[in-house]
Symmetry: C2
């Protein structure tokens, strides 16, 4: 995975500024900020907590991500003259002009953001972020922060469902909520455990490895071998002159049909032309989609013929993509044919061909795929991943905390808190102890600290 370039990092920061101007918020943040300002309360210290109420997808956890974008947003939070003039046009005309002067000078220099570390497992009702600063300013940040705090949870669930051995490719850009929704999805699914994305701009901005070869439209755009051009290829070692790769492939196709007992009449010439054309363009990156017509009667045979021709010329074909039907069953049959070709034609490269499966994969079908016999090495996921079909929103909230709460409120809290305790712990005489266990990490940390402390005591004694 290539790290994003310095330019890309700069672009990312500029992109956050452009994507999240301070006007990208709900109007009521401004009317409230004005009311605070009018009452002279705008500089009062305030703390808001950002949290969600229920773990998403019916699961037991969520994942926190988005801190970096939040920091960039805070850093660039400043109103332009154009912003202020627009606000003047939409706020009630009774708004004191001095408020707009106040907005002109506003930034987040007085704001402190405390947050759980990026990428940590988080739970319902536990604050993910605490935003502390002047009341009017932290109020104005609410909507943008809620919008920026994204979650890698859905991708992480797909990762868990897929098991650790399989590579996962995100390919949901076309189904995302607008262009930036697509970028957001690519970024956070990578954070959540996906290995690859089809989104080139996500590769450019975030350094995520990109992948992809061909669509069905490429295959169906060919109808005959006459369209293949050039029709020759030089061997990988460059030794001999150009080889007539069409004749070579036709020869291999006959042998493959014979080996598998297939009918040459059912083979689609356009598909063979498409594979050959792609193989000639990218002889070291040959991975076609083989189900445009029929995997068993045409696509698999055409793949094997072109891949065997490329192998004969010293190139290493990569694999195939299955995009419809019973992915598991087909992958098993495809693998069987690869092994047969490897043995029969003595082409060991056929043992390491990869099979990519893509076909409207949901969390459920991913889990099923993991239970059934199959030979799929890479799974591509689009719609269900980027739209979070199962639960498209986490429902985070941003609540003002009240550390100055009244005696009566604290009294009520004490009572309700006591009610959570079992009577056997509340007995005034000889109560049962409430067991508080240390986690393994905390236990180890305590032991280490004790050791350090004893070492340091020894050191003091020695001196």
């Amino acid at each position: 995975m290539a790290a994003p370039s310095g330019e890309a990092c700069g672009l990312l920061e500029r992109s956050v500024r452009q994507r999240v101007p301070p006007l990208l918020t709900d109007l009521y943040q401004f009317t409230m900020a004005y009311a605070y300002w009018r009452a002279g309360r705008h500089r009062e210290p305030a703390v808001f907590e950002l949290f969600f109420r229920d773990n998403p997808f019916g699961g037991g956890f969520s994942l926190f991500a988005g801190q970096h974008d939040c920091l960039l947003f805070l850093r660039s939070f400043r109103f332009t003259e154009e912003d202020v003039e627009f606000l003047r046009s939409v706020l009630p005309c009774s708004t004191d002009p001095a408020f707009f002067q106040f907005l002109r000078g506003l930034d987040c220099s007085g704001v402190t953001l405390r947050s759980v570390p990026e990428g940590t497992v988080v739970f319902a009702r536990v604050p993910l972020m605490e935003v502390e600063g002047p009341l009017a300013v932290v109020q104005l940040l609410e909507t943008s922060l809620l919008c920026l705090v994204n979650y890698a949870s859905n991708a992480a669930r797909f990762r868990l469902a897929a098991g650790p051995g399989r590579k996962l490719l995100e390919m949901g850009l076309r189904r995302a909520q607008g262009p930036d929704g697509g970028l957001t999805a690519s970024r956070y699914t990578h954070i959540g455990g996906f290995d690859l994305t089809s989104n080139v701009q996500a590769g450019f901005l975030f350094g995520i490895p990109v992948a992809g070869t061909m669509a069905h439209s490429y295959v169906t755009s060919f109808s005959s071998l006459e369209e293949v051009c050039p029709q020759t290829l030089v061997a990988a070692n460059g030794d001999a002159g150009p080889v007539d790769v069409i004749s070579l492939t036709k020869g291999w196709l006959s042998r493959v049909c014979e080996l598998l007992g297939s009918e040459p009449a059912k083979i689609r010439e356009g598909e063979l032309a498409a594979f050959l054309s792609y193989g000639i363009a990218y002889p070291q990156n040959f991975l076609p989609v083989i189900d445009s017509y029929s995997v068993g009667c045409s696509g698999l045979l055409n793949f094997c013929a072109v891949a065997l021709a490329l192998s004969e010329l010293g190139y290493r074909p990569v694999g195939v993509r299955l995009d419809s039907g019973d992915l598991c069953g087909q992958s098993v049959e495809v693998r069987r044919v690869f092994r047969l070709c490897s043995q029969h034609f003595s082409v060991p490269a056929f043992d390491s061909l990869i099979i990519v499966g893509t076909n409207n994969i949901s969390e459920q079908s991913m889990a099923e795929l993991n239970r059934k016999e199959n030979e799929i090495d890479v799974v591509g996921v689009g719609t269900h991943l980027v739209t979070c079909t199962k639960q498209p929103s986490l429902g985070c909230v941003y609540k003002l905390t009240q550390p100055l709460c009244s005696a009566a409120e604290t009294r009520a809290k004490v009572q309700s808190s006591l009610q959570t305790l079992s009577p056997r712990h509340k007995r005034l005489q000889e109560p049962d102890a409430y067991t508080v266990a240390l986690s393994e990490t905390l236990h180890n940390l305590v032991q280490e600290l004790q050791k350090c402390s004893s070492d340091s005591n020894n050191f003091l004694l020695a001196n």
Copy 2:
């Protein structure tokens, strides 16, 4: 509704350029474009059709929108040197360097976009757009066009469910798929029939009317009347000096409690302070959220007291927002109290107060709300609107059409087409006629044309 300014239009165009660079696409578009280029097919004329396969949300139609963004995207489609260098780093190293030279010169000047008009009702399997141009170029456009063609269908369904009389407010920014997802949602829900948005940037860029007053956090940030500042207000006509609005409101609160038989002890002083503070800041735009504590025991009484005080000073309060519980039932009770106050205190302004309802509204709860007795004038919708919970993706596809298809293919099409016809229409002798009816509009058009034609014949005869 303010039209977007010239600057905003320019911003919108720049924003599309920045949001949809030509790299915002799937990698396989580039590998395919290269293979076409390598085979000398990149300039071949091609036509792709963009359509969807099933009407969304289990309904009978969809709505088309996004044409304008598509046009801006095509107009600005051009690779920067940085884009080309990134592509060089991710495409296989065997890629011919001349391909990158080809990309440097690429634009959409040879591309024709035909589309159904923006905002039209559309149906499954009918092309929404036809993109015609050089094969490699129209291939490269696929993912971005699919991502840009958005749909106002979900908003239109909410509009239909709400009935024509009620105003609809979109307030989903915080639940959207990233910042731009929020802007996209605000724009297309407005197109789909929503009247207002809470999203200020959407107001700035697209001229959508913005609305919003206060959140619960504003209410809970106050705890006592001492926090109200300033404590005076000058009457609307400016005649008298500053009036002690706290005493005035306290007086009204007693009278309201007496009228409704309410217990003054249950009233939250902090809520009254918040309402008063807001009312002093915006005396002509007073619309608080009244369910932070209890609508019946506190919020409604506090609202009436402040609104009556404002009315006495010649201001016109706007209304209330309900954000939890049984919106319909509460709205009926709130309206009853408004009417009672109007009559009892002779304040006719109380007859035109509006009630806003916002509480996790779905298409289903909107339809229910339309069936039950209620007094809600404006409904605010967030999560279910912007995330399209019911079906978060339409699943549009972009398919290469084949007008040069073979005789065999045409023959097969003829056969399957004939199979769709009933045998009684296929009888070779005395077949039943297949009734083709004219729509009313078409019938009128034909009559008009006949009339024109007869007029023009008359004209010819006369000459």
